[in-house]
């Protein structure tokens, strides 16, 4: 069957070695136009290396890739005209103000001075940074910096955007902020490749998820498909008073009919298949007047995903950040 899909990103057999270390071992990635691909993997899996190759910052040792229809090796300039890159580390100039950064990138994208100014104003407004626009980046909070970083990658209205771990290191409320901005982008039809260490994030934002480990694709599918493979969600309850633990344990096991575990002291978890169980548990606990400090539905962590897919956990001795290994 002929594949009629138009791809914003299509990569086949990308391979990259750093000396004896294999960062990428022949991975395939495909992002249909207008969709979001989540690339999920632990530190050192090769996520950043893949992004750097697709963004023409690195050359692969083998394999080929097209981005927005342009070959990354044969026509890197055309690729650069079509992409926006938001790195794992804020790639803006800390000594300059937010506005100066945006104007600088606009000028480098051949905007005229007035156009550059207008685009900077527009983006600052869009990202809620109008007030902070004339302050230097180094005075920004982590969340503001990510927003500016994201804005900076949109200056040239790119067709394809790379978001390399956009929320790593952000607290949950700031993370929601970034998620909303990403949703805003995708609603406009921009194609996105997003790397992340959180299944939750890929689930929230991506149309499809590719799981990679040690430079290889180990699973690909929609979030729902992956969740079926790795099992459902779990419910976490943290009692306010330790003496209520036994009572809560009884409520949980009665309603879910599944075993209840206490992975760390003062935290109870149980698998949950039916969302109605969640409501029932909340109502039951309230009726009994048992106070809890935390009650939440959790997706499987990356650790659990990996355990299911590879039969091993994320290795503790994984190199801290292989992706950043410099080329010798």
């Amino acid at each position: 069957m002929v594949d009629m899909t138009n791809y914003a990103i299509k990569a086949e057999g990308l391979t990259k070695h750093y000396g004896d270390t294999i960062a990428l071992d022949g991975i395939d990635l495909a992002v249909p136009e207008g969709s979001v691909l989540g690339v999920l993997g632990p530190n050192g899996a090769g996520k950043t290396t893949a992004v750097r190759i697709l963004a023409t910052l690195l050359q692969p040792d083998a394999g080929h890739a097209t981005v927005a229809g342009h070959d990354v090796l044969l026509d890197p300039t055309a690729v650069r005209r079509s992409i926006g890159l938001t790195g794992q580390y804020a790639s803006v100039d800390e000594q300059l103000t937010g506005r100066e950064n945006l104007e600088l990138f606009a000028r480098l994208l051949d905007f005229s001075r007035p156009d550059a100014r207008a685009r900077a104003t527009e983006l600052l407004g869009q990202f809620g940074l109008t007030e902070a626009g004339d302050r230097r980046i180094k005075t920004y909070s982590g969340g503001m910096r990510r927003r500016l970083d994201l804005a900076a990658s949109l200056v040239g209205r790119p067709e394809v955007i790379f978001l390399d771990e956009p929320t790593t290191g952000l607290d949950p409320s700031k993370r929601d902020d970034v998620w909303n901005l990403v949703r805003m982008l995708t609603a406009e039809g921009t194609s996105v490749l997003l790397t992340t260490q959180y299944l939750e994030e890929a689930d929230a934002l991506a149309d499809a998820i590719t799981v990679i480990d040690l430079g290889k694709v180990i699973a690909h599918g929609t979030a729902a498909e992956l969740k079926q493979i790795v099992g459902g969600r779990s419910l976490q309850v943290r009692p306010t008073n330790v003496r209520d633990t036994a009572d809560i344990r009884a409520v949980l096991s009665r309603i879910t009919g599944r075993p209840v575990e206490e992975p760390t002291r003062g935290l109870l978890t149980t698998p949950i298949e039916d969302e109605k169980d969640f409501t029932d548990i909340v109502v039951d606990l309230a009726a009994r007047g048992i106070p809890v400090t935390e009650i939440a539905l959790k997706l499987p962590s990356l650790d659990e995903v990996f355990f299911t897919l590879t039969g091993k956990g994320v290795p503790d001795d994984a190199p801290a950040d292989l992706d950043k290994e410099p080329v010798s």
């Binding site: 910052l57 690195l58 790195g87 803006v92 600088l104 527009e122």
Partner: protein, 269 residues
């Protein structure tokens, strides 16, 4: 680009400049200058150093070396000027080494601009620092009693000669900045290399009193030729041959190290 929807491509963008490379480099030079202005302490070395060195060499050593501080000032000013400028060429390597780790260079690399533009931009901004050093040295020298005996054009030519030489030399520092892991090692290697180049020259004393082996080095040292050419342009004397050798060496350095630096920058992850 702001009105993508209503206007066709042809008139939506401003007419493409014939030299986007030069325009991008200048835009990036503007960024570097802005950063310099926000860190005035970056100018300490280029402003205070020539003044301090002039005072030490002229008032402390000058009388003993040349019999009178004024005579020595007339002799040593071009040397101090050149020495300060050459030492300040190291900082670009140090700065780029740290700059690159910040990540903004990743974004530059992902933009459709020439890979050399961020480096060229940074060197253009450096020329501002070199010009300040040259200006301060001349003014400080003038206040201490230094007098030129040539035309204004000759003096300007002397300044330009130093500027061009320093600009070519700074590509070595950039290359070092690209291949060194630590900013500190750029500084260390740079200083080690500059000591024999500056002190082993005709900057501070005539080579006549030096031992033969040292004289041999001093005579081939391009900094000697640069110093002698600048001396000639400021206070009279032969210029052409020394200037030719100095510029030739500088051109050679540029031809070797600029491509090396750009290549190292391209492959730096």
């Amino acid at each position: 680009m702001t009105s993508t929807i209503t206007l066709p491509d042809a008139i939506e963008q401003r007419p493409p400049s014939s030299l986007p490379w030069a325009r991008h480099s200048l835009t990036l030079a503007g960024r570097s200058v802005k950063k310099m202005m926000r860190h005035p302490e970056q100018f300490f070395d280029v402003t205070l150093q020539p003044v301090l060195f002039l005072m030490i060499f002229v008032y402390v050593l000058g009388g003993a070396i040349a019999g009178s501080t004024h005579d020595y000032l007339q002799f040593v000013l071009p040397g101090i000027l050149i020495q300060t400028v050459l030492f300040s060429t190291i900082s670009i390597g140090v700065n780029l080494n740290t700059d690159i780790k910040e990540g903004v260079f990743d974004r530059f690399k992902s933009l459709p601009i020439a890979r050399s533009a961020p480096l060229v931009g940074a060197t253009i901004a450096e020329c501002l620092r070199y010009s300040i050093t040259i200006g301060i040295s001349l003014i400080a020298g003038f206040l201490m009693g230094y007098r030129t005996s040539t035309s204004v054009l000759d003096v300007l030519a002397a300044c330009l000669l130093v500027l061009v030489f320093a600009w070519c030399l700074c590509w070595i520092a950039i290359w070092l900045g690209m291949v060194s892991r630590e900013a500190g090692s750029v500084q260390g290697i740079g200083f080690m290399a500059l000591f024999p180049l500056t002190f082993g020259s005709s900057m501070f004393a005539s080579a006549d009193t030096m031992p033969g082996w040292l004289r041999a080095w001093v005579n081939v040292n391009p900094v000697t030729h640069l110093t002698d050419a600048v001396r000639g342009l400021l206070t009279g004397g032969p210029v052409a041959e020394d200037a030719f050798i100095a510029l030739g060496t500088a051109g050679l350095i540029l031809a070797v190290f600029a491509p090396l630096a750009v290549r190292a920058y391209r492959t730096k992850a």
